[in-house]
């Protein structure tokens, strides 16, 4: 028995595998050294290890660190909300809806148009909460509609084709929506109106200084996530969704309307993206036709990090990715003496994706085998 196991390990290692191990070791040691150097700089900026790569390093103060963490968390919460849509669609149909970022953008854009009108009429200032509720509802409606239309027009006819075909189609859909929105609403950057002071001011919670907007983002994300969880785990619709994800044909035999369930999945994912769009608008106060592209890909990364098809995983993945993205440049790269680290934020997000797929392709909470892999 032992003999066979030894032979297995000896014979299976190919050159590609060896090279991959090398990459893994390299990346891990890079991260470890970076973090160690960061700790060294925090402890005593003058010790030789801290000064080894970056003699000018000053480290971070506690407040700075907490601030970064909070930004990361709130941004991550939005990634998480968008990631839910990727995850749900992947769970049910097994393909990556590349255009989901555009659904998010549609929500943000709707929010802008409505809030701009409210701001013109003065209602934004006089009755902020009502206008906020209205723009959230509008954004949810538009995003849901966009997602459902997408499914109806572009994906339904392709339901039985090989996995890559709908993916390529969704890339086309993504480009089309981006550029149609640019054509209709113009290429300029659009700014959300100023938020009322009482909302956006800094608040202190458990020693964490946090802007009220970020708090709102976290709160709304948590509520949406709770609602989604209830829908999927506790209602009949949710049960139907899970059944369809498991096996479409059997689900149909059990009397579940597969088409309707798939549309519901898209709709719910779209609604979540719509909420995320509004939050994005409130937090960053600017939106363009390209707003959906990068957050979309990053949200997909978040879904993969959490284990695609797993809903709490998507949220956790989003939050981890957001934090990593905001902390890693300063905690790992800066101590290593990389200049201009803030430019590398996006590169960090993609590196996280590569890392996860290198170490644990099924994600943090993903299941290992799909039915197809076993066959």
């Amino acid at each position: 028995m032992t003999a066979t196991i030894e032979r297995k390990s000896a014979r299976q290692v190919s050159k590609v595998d060896r090279f991959l191990t090398l990459i893994r070791v390299f990346l891990v040691s890079l991260i470890v050294i970076g973090v160690l150097a960061f700790i060294a700089q925090q402890v005593a900026p003058d010790n030789p290890f801290a000064r080894w790569r970056n003699p000018d390093a000053v480290g971070l103060t506690g407040d700075q660190f907490k601030g970064l963490l909070m930004s990361g968390l709130s941004q991550g919460a939005m990634y998480g909300l968008i990631a839910l849509g990727y995850s749900m669609v992947y769970g049910v149909l097994g393909f990556i809806n590349f255009a989901h970022g555009e659904v998010f953008m549609a929500g943000a854009m709707t929010g802008f148009i409505a809030s701009d009108k409210f701001s013109e009429s003065g209602m934004w200032e006089s009755n902020f909460l009502l206008s906020l509720a209205i723009i959230i509802i509008l954004a949810i409606m538009v995003s849901t509609l966009a997602a459902v239309l997408m499914e109806r027009v572009a994906y339904r006819p392709l339901r039985d084709s090989p996995r890559l075909i709908p993916l390529i189609t969704s890339i086309g859909v993504s480009f089309f929506i981006q550029n149609a929105v640019m054509g209709v609403f113009g290429p300029s950057t659009k700014s959300y109106p100023q938020l009322p002071q009482w909302l956006s001011k800094q608040r202190s919670i458990l020693t964490f200084e946090i802007a009220g907007t970020k708090l709102l983002v976290l709160l709304v994300a948590a509520v949406s996530m709770g609602g989604l969880w209830y829908l999927v785990e506790r209602t009949k619709t949710g049960k139907a969704m899970r059944a369809v994800a498991e096996d479409k044909e059997i689900a149909a035999l059990m009397g579940i309307n597969v088409n309707r369930t798939i549309v519901t999945t898209f709709a719910v994912g779209g609604a979540m993206a719509g909420i995320a769009g509004i939050l994005w608008g409130l937090l960053f106060r600017s939106v363009t036709h390209m707003t959906g592209f990068l957050p979309g890909i990053k949200a997909f990364t978040a879904a993969v990090v959490g284990g695609i098809g797993n809903l709490p995983g998507a949220m956790v993945g989003g939050i981890s990715l957001g934090s990593a993205e905001s902390l890693a440049p300063l905690v790992i790269l800066e101590p290593l003496g990389v200049p201009g680290v803030s430019q590398l934020k996006d590169a960090v997000a993609f590196t996280v994706l590569v890392l996860v797929l290198l170490f644990k392709p099924s994600g943090l909470f993903g299941e290992q085998l799909s039915a197809e892999d076993r066959a």
């Binding site: 190919s14 590609v16 090279f19 991959l20 990459i23 393909f95 990556i96 148009i113 701009d116 572009a154 339904r156 006819p157 392709l158 084709s161 996995r163 890559l164 075909i165 709908p166 993916l167 390529i168 189609t169 890339i171 086309g172 859909v173 993504s174 480009f175 089309f176 929506i177 981006q178 550029n179 149609a180 640019m182 054509g183 209709v184 609403f185 113009g186 890909i297 997909f300 990364t301 993969v304 990389v338 200049p339 201009g340 680290v341 430019q343 590398l344 996006d346 590169a347 993609f350 590196t351 994706l353 590569v354 797929l357 290198l358 392709p361």
Partner: protein, 615 residues
Amino acid sequence: MSATMTSSTASSSGSVNRASVADQDWRKIGKWGGLCTLALVLVSLIGMPVGLDRRILIHPVLSLGYLSLLWIPLMLGFVVSKRVELEGVESPEPGGRDLVAGALTGLVGGVGMAVFMLALNTFNIRDPLVNWSPQLLELLNYGRGLGFGVAAWIVACCVLGLLGSAIHVVSADVRRVVSFSAFGLLAFAVLEGAISDLSEGFGLEFLTDSIYAKRGGVTIVWSIVLAVVIGGVSVLTKGRLKAAKANYSELEGPERKRASRILFVVVALLIVILPLFLGTIMNELLANVGLFLLLALGLNIVVGLAGILDLGYVAFFAVGGYTTAVLTSPDSPFFAPELHFGITLVIVVVFAGIVGLVIGAPVIRMRGDYLAIVTLGFGEIIRLLFMSDWLKPYFGGAQGITNVPGVDLGFITIKGTDPRSVFYLVLVFCALAIYISWRLQASRLGRAWMAIREDEKVAEAMGINTVNTKLLAFVVGAVLASFSGAILVAKVGSVFPNSFMILVSIIILVVVIVGGMGNIAGVLVGSFVLIGILGGPRQPGLLHEFQSFKLLIYGALLVFMMLQRPEGLVPSARRSQELHQEEFLQDVWFKGEEHEAEEHEAEEHEAASHEGSDA
């Protein structure tokens, strides 16, 4: 999809014998008519009519702007009266009923457009909708007041819908002549730049001067003449082309070889000689087409043959470009050996191969869709790295590396100011890439790639080392892309990170898919049609007015192709030929086992007759 299918079959089976005009499928008309309205309004709001109005196709009457609207009712009229053909279900002859359906669909669209124009006249919501302008209204009503415009659109859409559905009704001969005239005329109008440039080269300006109006566009008189001439030619050549093709494919052995060789020489001569008569702009255009063709040929090996959806393909383009810039430019910030382009090229190949391996190794085992997104990430990482302050001392950051010299061949220096020379350089590499694709496709490696594309698991079980084989495809593709990058940099004389956006990957993907995946001829057609007419990510094509709508059209094309024609414009001959037979055989199979025996007899008979004809 299914809804329309069932409804149309239901209605057609209800009126198998005598399709009365009144017996319409109203739901279908409503649906497509509504779609027609939506499309018309969307196109208007995107700004195509106004933005494209500058480009005139037929002198005073038709501009590209109007065409961007007018094709919609025509197309939907065609679609609405199209029948779903089902084996065994007798569909009624196309007739008056279809014409009415087409006209009604157009009518719905026209009425929708009229309502839109009234709204345009009454409200002002230019704030979010940037194209909601009086200018648009002016254009839509042809500058003759709202009343005229409304009436004109209702009538025009109705007529166009009718014409669209008439395509099904008229005889095949008429269809052929009309479509030849229409597309021929359109080609003349679209290719105006190329044709007048070419005629200038041959000293035939007087001809094009009379064909085309001063402000552009074919004059009305010449439009009629051209349409008639092209239609006439199509009548005369009817069947000839097919016959010639059949003749060619019937040739055997040495004769066929000779015919192919003659064909090859003629085409090669044309390609080499024509640019001599073209001006700077057209040569520039050709050079761009060539650069993208080179990229597309590489991606075709990766996506089309091996089935690996690499969305970060632009990374290798960037690697080629930056390697060349660093090695040849005296302004390279860190290391400037100022090598000759030829030597650089060798290093570029090696380097692109290494980067291909480094990027490929971690991703090659992933499932296809994950691989797509991860490579997309890699493509973006590479651009971000080139752009970052971190690597600025080596690659110049956002300012890039400038002052890259052209290719010095001793007797001539190839550089961007002389696009013709660049075209010839690109041509050499394209020829090389075509040769590589062609040879590899018909080799052990090409077959292994195709097997992996078809069914990776089975390919592995049949003894193919899928990991290594896929990596090899990745590397070959990377090398071809790096050539293109190297030439681009030598042509432009500088390199910037923003020339290597993800967009480039996607556009090349569209080129490969529209042309036909895994098919060299398809990729050629795709590059010429898309890059030549619409243009590349930054490079204008013949219709440079499309600049701001290019990506929109690429996106729409991608969706359309995937839904309607996944095999591309030029499907590999094999597929289209056999499609019918497949259906036949499947039918036989479905009908049950007793037919199998019959089928065998038929098969054997067929085989015997084939042997007979061979002998």
